[in-house]
């Protein structure tokens, strides 16, 4: 079983987002980077399939040279091979990103299964995996929370309005998954050491006209302040009478 997983390097944001002065990017001078949460689960799922059925897990990312860090993080939790589609760090749109990924998948494949996260944590585009599926002529399903592979077919499940939907697809296929499909492992020490030494294959993606996709970012901004400056009811257990009075006012007490 050959599995490819596409991941994206995104800023690790905590209590608030700060935008750069030119309004083009999230200010990451004070933050680290990670892969989108859904994608970390996609890698974990791929590693579990490979552990059970044999085969390899290839992680791919399109991003700056520093995205090699995120590929090593994924090697540390069990991926066997890493491919960096190296850019100058500017943001690529979904159409160009999908085209570049397809080139790399064709060059490095064939793959039985191609996994994505349901959407990138930062841009939230919800589409690269679907576009890749169409370009490769493969069946595709998104938002998956449960996945089984056997006999050349894939059974996948997800939620829709409180009920569960099941899908049955032939392989090869493209699947995007959501966090909750599994609980990703922590990297082991041998895993981290192996990842540190591993070679990362670098490809310079063809210069697709990423700036001419028809959807142009003008600027990013933080939504108008939703800061409320909470009314402090008190400290410790001493605040309980005030808290009970508040809950009573809100009509939530029995």
């Amino acid at each position: 079983m050959e599995v490819a997983v596409c991941v994206k390097r995104v800023p690790m944001v905590g209590g608030k987002i700060v935008v750069t002065a030119d309004g083009q990017d999230v200010d990451t001078r004070m933050s680290g980077f990670t892969v989108s949460p859904h994608e970390e689960c996609a890698v974990e799922e791929a590693v579990r399939l490979a552990e059970r059925d044999g085969g390899r897990v290839t992680v791919l990312t399109l991003g700056p040279a520093a995205a090699a860090d995120q590929l090593r993080d994924m090697l540390a939790i069990g991926a066997s091979r890493a491919v960096l589609l190296e850019t100058d760090g500017r943001e690529w749109g979904p159409i160009a990103t999908a085209a570049a990924i397809v080139d790399a998948l064709r060059a490095g494949g064939p793959y039985d299964l191609i996994l994505f996260g349901n959407e990138a944590a930062d841009t939230g585009g919800f589409q690269v995996g679907v576009r890749v599926a169409h370009l490769l002529g493969l069946p595709c399903v998104t938002g998956i929370k449960h996945l089984e592979v056997s006999g050349g077919r894939l059974r996948a499940g997800r939620e829709y309005r409180g009920t569960e939907e099941a899908y049955d697809l032939p392989l090869p296929a493209v699947v995007s998954v959501k966090e909750g499909i599994n609980l990703p492992r922590y990297p082991s020490l041998p895993g981290r050491l192996r990842a540190k030494r591993a070679a990362i294959e670098r490809i310079e993606p063809e210069r697709y006209p990423w700036h001419a996709e028809g959807l142009r970012k003008e600027r990013l901004r933080v939504p108008p302040a939703q800061n409320k400056r909470a009314e402090i009811l008190g400290t410790g257990a001493g605040a309980v009478p005030a808290l009970v009075a508040l809950l009573d006012d809100l009509g939530v007490l029995p």
Binding site: V13, G14, G15, I17, V26, P37, P94, I95, A121, G124, G125, F126, Q127, G129, V130, R131, A133, H134, P139, C140, V141, T142, E159, Y160, G162, T163, E164, E165, A166, Y167, D168, P170, K178, E179, G180, L183, L215, K217, E218, R221, V222, P223, Q226, N227, K228, R229, A230, I232, L233, G236, A237, A239, V240, L243, V244, L247, G251, V252, L253, P254
Partner: protein
């Protein structure tokens, strides 16, 4: 401009998220609604014929009344049973051509995103997900505000494509009925599909997915890192039980394996909109706040008065939840 709006169903009615999408679509032009499949997904069995089987995809009076009230002049019933994302997109592509749509709009739901992503791939056009607003600019462009980071960051963008493919950030757009509604004309549309379009289609299993009660709960008692470990949730469960609510947790709690993911509130979990969200030992990372900002009232219990959640909450208790919550439970029980 004609705006085609995909309407998802909630039983016999249009889903609330789709009323929001219709409201959004109305701001762009004359709305033509389109609905597909049956209320339920297709039962297990042989796939229908390659051109799509007609049948029970009709528009009932409740759905017709809903889309009329929200400003649709026409509503198309597409002859497709069940949910097959690529087939739905193929039908939208055909219908968009038929009515010369300048935009195709869907609610920013799992299905909305999936179908419009397929439509983008089929047509080669860009798709803008989770738009909070759109207005026509010069030269036929659309000026959009769209959500990034699940709404914690806004992107001003220009879309130059026809038709414009948009999903609607449903948290950001209220459902507002049309001022002068008229009964929508009901029409049928039979899409031309090939076999590959029906290769992926849903069967519904009887089991009920988790997380639904969290999404609709009137009270949510939230627990974060401050709970301290998997054994610390008893008092939160007890309090939630007393208040007729449920427990929700932050991402760190599910990442640590303390609680199952279906209890997670946030960008990669469930979005909640309770009357009261009592957030205990939760710092308030933006990914968490993206999931709870629709709460009517947020009360934080936190040892750190400088935690980000204190600036996003309505009320706060500065203190250790392991001290505050048992005392609160006792006080509520004492009221009897």
């Amino acid at each position: 401009m004609t705006v085609l709006c995909l309407v998802e169903r909630d039983g016999e009615h249009a889903a609330d998220v789709s009323l929001r999408a219709l409201t959004f679509a109305r701001s762009l032009g004359d709305v033509t609604a389109v609905t597909m499949g049956n209320a339920a997904t297709r039962p297990a069995g042989p796939p229908p014929g390659a051109t799509g089987a007609g049948g029970d995809a009709g528009v009932g009076p409740a759905l017709a009344a809903d889309v009329s009230a929200y400003g649709a002049a026409e509503v198309y019933a597409v002859g497709l049973d069940g949910y097959a994302p690529q087939a739905w997109a193929r039908a939208l592509a055909g219908l968009a051509g038929e009515v010369a749509a300048g935009a195709v709009v869907a609610a920013g739901t799992d299905r909305g995103h999936e179908v419009l992503a397929h439509l983008g791939a089929i047509t080669g056009l860009p798709m803008a997900a989770n738009c909070a607003s759109a207005r026509p600019g010069e030269d036929g462009t659309l000026r959009l505000v769209r959500h990034r980071w699940a709404g914690s960051l806004l992107e001003d963008a220009v879309l130059e494509a026809s038709p414009a493919l948009l999903t609607v950030a449903v948290d950001a757009v209220p459902a507002v009925p049309a001022e002068q509604p008229a009964p929508a004309a009901v029409r049928a549309y039979q899409p031309v599909l090939d076999e590959a379009d029906l290769l992926v289609s849903a069967t519904e299993s009887a089991g009920r997915a988790g997380g639904a009660s969290l999404a609709t709960a009137r009270v949510v008692v939230g627990g974060g890192r401050g709970v301290g470990g998997p054994d610390g949730f008893g008092v939160l469960e007890e309090l939630a039980g007393l208040l007729g609510g449920v427990v929700g947790v932050s991402r760190v709690v599910t990442s640590e394996g303390w609680r199952p993911h279906q209890q997670q509130v946030g960008q990669t979990g469930t979005r909640i909109s309770p009357e009261l969200y009592l957030a205990c030992g939760i710092s308030g990372a933006i990914q968490h706040m993206a999931g709870c900002l629709s709460s009517k009232h947020i009360v934080a219990v936190n040892t750190d008065a400088g935690a980000p959640i204190i600036a996003r909450a309505d009320y706060a208790v500065i203190g250790d939840l392991n001290e505050v919550l048992p005392a609160l439970v006792a006080a509520i029980r004492a009221r009897g």
